[in-house]
Structure formats: C-alpha cells, structure tokens
Amino acid sequence: MNDIVYSARNITKRFGPQLALQGIDLDLHEGEILGIVGANGAGKSTLMKILSGALQADDGELRLGDNVHHMGSMLEAWQAGVAFVSQELNLFPPLSVAENLWLVPGRTGLTPTREFLTAARVQTERLGLKVPLSTPLASLSLADHQLVEIARALLQQPRVLILDEPTSALHASEVGRLHEILRGLRESGVAMIYISHFLEEVLEIADNVVVIRDGMNVPLESRGKRPTIPEIVTAMLGRASDAVHEPPARKTSTAANGVRKLGIENLRAPGLSIDSLVATQGEVVGLAGLAGSGVETVFEILFGVATPASGVIRLPSGARQAHNRPQAVASGVAYFPSDRKHLGLTLDQSIHENVSAVRSLSLGRDGPVPKVARQRQIAEERCAQIGVKMQSVDQPVSSLSGGNQQKVVFARWLEANPSLLLLDDPMRGVDINAKQEMYRIIRDLAEGDRVILFYSTDPGDYVATTDRVLVFNDGRIIDELSGERLNEHELVASMNGETAQTA
C-alpha cells in the first residue's frame, strides 16, 4: 500500500539481559487510528518510545513515508511530524499551562505569539480543560496534567500522533471529548496510534487493532469483521482469560455490633459536607463522583492529611481521627494513591525496597536492622501474587512498565496489613488480566476484618468490586447504589446528577 505513513520492521530492543521487543513489525496508514493492546510489560511503551525517538532500537528499521528514518531523538521526531503523548507524563509543574504547551522544540521566537495562545486556548477548551492558561501546572489534578500533555501534542499539528494510555486518569466525559477530537484528526488524514487497557475504548475508536505479547506481534484471530474483547484477551494472554469476571456476590450492609466499622458523622470541610457515612468490615464501599466532587477530600481527611472543620470520625481500628500521616498509618489506614510517580513510589530504589517501605520504615515491623534476604523473599512472594512482570526484585522500580509499577504501589500497602483501605484509582494503567486479579484480591481483603473504600475513574471497576456505591456531587452524598441499581449505566447517570429514580 502506498498510503503507509510510518512503518517499523523487525524492531528489537534489549534492557540488559531482557528482550523487551523481539522483531516487531508495524504499519500505520494515513487517516488510521491503530489500537495497540497487550498485557503490562508486553513492550507497548518501549515500542512507542522507539517510534518517537525517545529510545533507539538495537535492531530494525523505521520508515517514514518512503524513506528510512533514523529517529535519533525526540527532537528529530517532532521535526518529522511525529508527536508523542507518553504514559509517564513529561511536564514541568512550576511552569504555567501556556509555557508547558509552548515549550517544545522547533518553536522559535522569544515569547509565545498571540496566535499560539489563541490556538492553545481553543485546543485546551476542546479537551475540556477549564483553567486559564496562566495557571501553574502544579496546581492542576492528574487528569488535567494528562489533558495538557495531549494538548501539547495536538498543538504540534502532527502527521503521526502516538497516544500511550492517554486516558488512564481521565473520567468518561473527558474520554468522550478526546475521542471526538481524534475522529476529527482522522478526517484530516492524521495517522494515530492509540494504546489503552480499556479494550472497549480501543474497539470504539480504533480502525485496526494490533496485539503485542512478550515483545512480539501476535496474530489476532477474529471470526467477525471486528475482533471481540474475548478474542483480544486471548491473543494478549496466549490463552483464554481465566475468569470472565462475574460481579461479586454483593453483601448488604449489616451494621451488627462488635464488628469493626468506619464511622463518619457530621463531617464538614471545605467543599465537603457529610452527615453520616458508615462502612462495616467485609464491605467494599465505592465512593464515586466526578472531578472535584469531594471524594479525594474524604480520603485525605481519613488519612490525616487534611483537617476537617468539624465532625466525628471513628476508624475501624478503634482509633479516633488521625491528625497526621504517621498516626493514620499506625492506626491501620492505608491510602493507595493514584499518582504513583510522585506519591506512590521511590522510583530509583529497588522493587523490594519499595515493597517493604511501609511495613519496614513507616511501621518498623522489621525492627531496627531489617534482614534484606527476608525482605527480598517477601517482595518476591507479593509480586508473584499480584503478577508483577519483572526480572528480579533488585531492579529499580523505574525499570518496570507503567502497569507493573502500579502493582508495586498496591503491593507496598498490602504489606501494612491495614484495617481501613482507601483505594484511589488503584488500577490505573493495569491490564485486564491483572485487573481481574486485583478485583479478587480486593474482595479477599474485604473477607478479612477490613473496611475498604474504593474510588476509580472507570465506572466498570465499581460494578466489579464494590458492594455498594455512594455517589458524591459537590461535596455531598447524593445517591447510594446497590443491588440491581449498581450497574455502569445507572452509575454514570447518577454521577452526572441525572438520577431519575429516587435514592
């Protein structure tokens, strides 16, 4: 075909002893959105980094149009019209949104031009970013960071646009807006690569789907015109998925005496007003809401980061409200943060150091002179349980793929053996199989004497794990979904304030 804009042949990449990519081929056509799927650690991001010049292949050939192109650096890629939205955000928090958008190689001039600023404003508004361009990036949420990164790439007016998990921190409505923009670009002939672990999303937007497994192309055998999710999963894993997940046998809240519970009464804080929230042991309670609805504030208060104006809190461990993080951790509260890069991990330390950090450092459970051999062994067991794809527990966490890093965040908090788990989007960027595994682990954890509060940007996660969902809007609980009503459709409607039925 002669409308191939960008192609890769026999791309091979090693990291030390590990073969991350082994002879991958890829063709990208004009006006095509190519979905790429694969399990965590399959090599998707590595391939994208090579396509965008951020990494160099050990072997293989890249062809841009009709010419062999050596992508020596990202600068070359930008210049060749290839824009890249990477999985790990590459932004500058102290700089303003405008500066972040403007500061890409190839732009000349002393200061941003008026035209550029206008274009930037239009672009960010289309993506749904609701802040002035002069706002420092640091004050924005993770989702907004992701939008800025996408806007930066779009403003480059690329011929080829690569999006590596662009939606992992986005809410459904933002995803919708993005897809609309991508379709527009497709009309104008831009070729795109779209990576996501939300397979529905990929199927919805992509013209074609490529599956990568263990650094190799896998043929996608489809019986119909378009592949189905089970077919994709089979290709990704090399076998049929273990369990097509069934929603849990939901419990009804039993506020029996003697069981551990979390109790919140008359909680008042900036942007938050809760009259009563009770969660008992064995329950997984979903807290859902759109951006700024107050869920994060609840988590922060329970974790001792934020101080409420008033209210009574009783933690499952029996302790009163914690006033700082050490106290919270010591009282059995665990907070699985969504921002793994900044809050979740110490990226340049080894996996076993990361896994043991809470247990050994915050809680001191391993004594003043922890045994390294034992720590490594525990970390190995934990990582095997959650399915972290790694070479050894001695490698730095930064060398893991994004999804596998997320699993390490999960692992380190499990080590705390907490009685109250605050899960803030714990499955961000985790592949479908691992997600099933994490659903199961969360359910199992709930079987012990724990209280679990769960938040996710993916409505499907609530359906898959929680017993009931409290819907937040503007700092108030406006709805409670359980039983029959706990399905994706109702949930999204309720979050958007469209509760037709009575609560």
Partner: protein
Amino acid sequence: MLPSRLKRFDEAGLLFALIVMVLAIGILHPEFFDLGSIKTLLRQSAFVGIMAFGMVYLVSMTEIDLSVGGIYAVSATSAALLIKAGIDPWIAVGLSFAIGAALGALNGLVAVLLDVPLIIVSLGSLSVFFGLNLIISDASPVFGMPRDHAFFVIFGGEFLGLPSPAWVLLATGIVMHFLFFRTRFGATVRAVGSNRNAAEFIGIRVGLTRILATSLTGLLCAISASMALAYFRAVDPAMGEQKELLVIAAVIIGGTSLAGGSGTVLGAFLGVLIITVIDSGIVFFGIDTNYARFVTGCVILGAIALDRILKRSRAASSHMQSHL
C-alpha cells in the same frame, strides 16, 4: 487590585524583613540614612548582586557554581593587565567579558561532557580559576590604571546621584528578570530545572541550556568584576575569594528553591541587600568583634524565619479567602 497583587508578591516577606532591619538601624543611628551610607550599601550590593542574578538561573536548574569568585577574579585581573599593557579600557573590559563568559561556558561544557552536576566541576574549577589568577597576576596586585579614562570615570563614579554600579545592578536585574520569566531561554531553564528527564525526553537541548546558563553566569561575574575594577582601580590577587558563599546565600535567602524550576531575581536582589544591611548594622551598632559573627548569623536566621512565616500565613489566609 493592589492588595491582591501584593498578596501574590512572593518577596513581600523579604522586603518586610529588609525594611524592619533598615528602620531598626536608621532610627537608632540616623547617620545610616545619609546618602553616603546608602551609596556604599548599594555599591557593595552591586558587586555581589550582579553575580547572584546568574546564580539564580543555575540554582533554579538545581545547579550550583562554586567557581563564581574565581571567574570574577580572573576577569578583573585580565582586564587590569590588558589595560596596563596599553589596551584601551573599553576594549580590555570587553575582552574580560568574553573571558568570563568563556570560563563559565567551560564549566558548563565539562559538566555536560562528563555528565555530572555543575557543583562537582566547579569544586575543581574553583581552584583552577583562582590558580590561573595567581599565575597571570604573578600573585601580585595590579595597579596603575589610567584613572581619568572615561571607563573609570563613568563606572567608578556616580550617575544621577547614585553609584554607577547600582544602575548596572538595576539594569542587569531587569534584564535577567525579563529573560527568566518572559523568554524562551528562561522558560527552558525553568523547565530543565523542574524536570530534567522530561526536558530531555521532549527533545529540549539540555546540554546547550546548561552551557548557556553557566556562560551567562560567567558573563555576569565579569560584569561585576569590571564594576569592581572601575571602582577600586586596582586588582588584588585575593579578590573574589569566598565570594561563592555570599552569592549562594543571597540567592537562597532570596527564596530561589533548590528543588529547581523556579527562581526569583528580585528575591536575590533583596537577599543581597539583606546581607549587606546586616554588615552595616553590625558596624552602626558597634557590635563587639567577638559577637559580630554570632549576631550576623542570628539576624540571617531571623530574616529567613520572618520570610517563611509570613509566606505561610499568607498562604493560609489566601486559602481561607478561597473558601468564602
């Protein structure tokens, strides 16, 4: 309008600390408000301040240059030697600017080639530059400048009632502030400082940016040195010694964060003034030599504490406001 601007004005705490100090000295010792006293203060501040502006760029890139005093010394000595050799002072000083910028660039180049932080390189080049200074000056002072030449008259003297170096300080300050916050180069410096990996990742020429910043710092050292030469009309081999800590102190007291990505030229300016005023205060209060250093340290800590406490309360109050 004004109060809200003031609230966003990050250096208010430092300015307040400075004003408190100035008033404390001036009310008890009105001679301090003499024009002469103010002039001395400004001239002193200029020598350190001009260098500090360059260091703001480096610190905001999470870099520290310990060799600024050495660059200052070599620039001053080479200008003086060239003038003695009969070269026109304007040209000699121009050449010394080139030398300063080149030494700075050399620092940056070595740091980029070895891929190490600038502080490591400057630990070595600090000695190299001061050593070079001893070699070219033969460890002797350089005297005998043509004191009637326009260069010495203009920059060694006053302009509109203030010492010329004070005007140069002001001018470089404005330029450096503008460069830092309003230009592509400044934004690149801040970007590299805030997230070097990301900057590299998106294809910003990090090495080039580092070299440009060190070279700019070198140039500013040379400018500062030329002001000192114009005023002192002679150069001593000990010139520039121990200046690095002074310069770093000004930048850091000024509020430029070592975490990178942000910096304040205005803060460095206030930092320099605070340090200089403390020295004046010690003299005006006639503090015993044995106690002077102790008091200096306490006042520095006090100024820092005042600044941070004000910042925090300001942050808290603006937080409160937003709740209304």
